[in-house]
Symmetry: C2
Subunit: 340 residues, 2 copies
DNA sequence: TTGTAGGCGTTATCAG
DNA sequence: CTGATAACGCCTACAA
């Protein structure tokens, strides 16, 4: 009695099957190098004992883990869900597992998370955006850990990446807003520091405004964390400015959804009294009322391509590539010309 | 040249500091057992070399990983976000890391994920709900891996858990709906199979109806996956039934949000033409229009308590406990008496 | 306080 | 096709 819970090991299986551990290992990893008879014998033992290989031991001995890590800014809203999901499905097909962590939008934490993932034996990493100090890249390079950057893509950068030009993507939408006649434009941006996506999107809006001869009033730009409540709060603040904006452009759909909710609460009609735009085209975008005019990003494709790139890198096929994806403004109902 | 990227090991550090690997190990794990002078010497070497301990090796040698795993049905919407977030923060304070996987609402996958987490050396597991075959529990028990169940709690169950009684929680809301005068009630439920939370919530509604002398028409109950689109689709189907429901109760807030969106699209006023209710009280609930009447679940506390329980179990303090949390109906605007 | 040495569960190299 | 056996990087008695 009191038999301690014994976890079966390779050795146990070997014994039960009357072969060496090496053979069992082969049965598990390179079936083709084993005779049919011993294979079935071994597999039976595996079944009976309920054997599950010890991942840590395996990773250590094989010097690879078939695991890749991803660090995303947040899991709290759906912004990254679709892309990561596609990423993980694609990885699965290639025989890799995915480990995701989130840095809760605190870029300082990323380095720590990277180290953690690496120390866990990640064969490769998916990182979001470009903003991080070069030490981090060096760290990865020293250890020979390939990584691909996603969700962003900056002219002139050289690291393997798959993404879209956030600036170029926001541009057409901003142009549209202005061409519709809006002259007083409020902006609810994500926190720009350490976030090149947020920064690029904001810059695109500013650029567009100046290009059209509008002056950008810093007071009409609010930076805040990506979440519904903050979208609401920022919107309320913006609507108190003078002159009141006739359009509010948001750094993403979540912020925009928060803004729309607050508008209704304040009795402000969208888009009659004020237009609101988003970015990302997450599922929520077409479910809010009025449906959100936003920029569609091919998240799924991005995830798939990222997986391809990363695995190629890991398995020594292909080298640094840069894949730029196209985005598209999708006009729905939250944007219209300003009331005259 | 072509110096292969050499990852520093304990041994490297030991050499650089002029001590044994054992001492370095102590400096990293039990500082108090080392003299100040050697400690600083060692730490310096660690810095210089940029040493990061190899997690796999450590887990293997120490026979523990300080890692706990969680398996949630989905990361695609915010249902589990708050609770898991709190869980992870609490764990962090106790010196544990969290690994989360999601089974995308396919209960069959859970077993596989559990094995994966276990083979990765998880010291303990957080599982959602009770529905799983006993083999799984046996598997965990054999290996001495403690687990706590959350998000649910069924009378008479014995496994350590922290949660709320889904049935008892939905009951008051259903009663409320009926007492308001609704006689034709549609239900958009989550898929019941392999999901005790969805099942309990649905049963609560049925119970309440029969208790009030209403007959439950199976045709007025739709089961579907938790997501916005499905909520919309199901709502549309429901509104085509005869007699038309005057209230639609949803298995969670996401479904309800989808229903609300569709209602507007169809020109149906909520709550004037039809009332809609949710469950969970996620952030979205108060941002939709009309704000959702739902059941508030103390997600954060649940996460915290789960962490306490699990770590106690792992560290051999305390034994199986059952913590029941209270939920609360929160009346907002999406529920009103039926039009007479 | 510090060092020595054995072992954790697998994989991989080399003979047989 | 199969079996020894040496790593893999670290922890932990046990000794000194």
């Amino acid at each position: 009695m009191n038999r301690q819970p014994s976890i079966p090991t390779l050795e146990d299986v070997a014994q039960a099957a009357g072969v060496s551990t090496a053979t069992v290992s082969r049965c598990l990893n390179e079936k083709e190098k084993v005779s049919k008879s011993t294979l079935s014998k071994v597999m039976e033992a595996v079944e009976n004992l309920g054997y599950t290989p010890n991942f840590n031991a395996r990773a250590m001995a094989a010097r690879r883990s078939n695991t890749i890590g991803a660090i995303i800014p947040t899991m709290e809203n759906a912004i990254f869900a679709r892309g990561i999901q596609a990423f993980q499905v694609a990885l699965h097909e290639k025989g890799y597992n995915l480990l995701v962590s989130s840095n809760v939008y605190r870029p300082e934490l990323e380095t720590e998370l990277i180290k953690s993932l690496v120390s866990r034996g990640a064969d490769g990493l998916l990182l979001i955006g470009h903003s991080r100090d070069s030490e981090t890249y060096q760290y990865l390079e020293r250890r020979g850990i390939p990584s691909v950057l996603a969700w962003s893509m900056q002219p002139g950068q050289t690291h393997t990446c798959v993404g879209f030009d956030n600036r170029a993507s926001m541009h057409p939408l901003a142009d549209k807003v202005i061409e519709l006649g809006h002259r007083h434009i409020g902006v609810i941006s994500g926190i720009v520091e350490g976030n090149d996506r947020a920064q690029s999107r904001l810059e695109a809006i500013k650029d567009s405004m100046t290009a059209h001869g509008l002056t950008v009033d810093p007071d009409m730009i609010i930076q805040t964390f990506y979440d519904l409540d903050n979208g609401s709060i920022a919107f309320e603040q913006l609507m108190q400015k003078v002159p009141t904006p006739t359009a509010v452009m948001c750094g993403n759909d979540v912020l925009a959804a928060g803004a729309i909710a607050k508008a209704r609460e304040m009795g402000i009609k969208v888009p009659e009294d004020v237009s609101i735009t988003g970015f990302d085209d997450i599922e929520l975008a077409k479910h809010v009322y009025p449906a959100l005019t936003t920029v569609h990003v091919p998240h799924r494709e991005m995830g798939r391509r990222a997986a391809d790139l990363l695995v190629d890198l890991i398995e020594d096929r292909g080298s640094a590539s840069i894949i730029q994806l196209d985005t598209e403004v999708v006009m729905r109902d939250s944007l219209s010309p300003p009331k005259t």
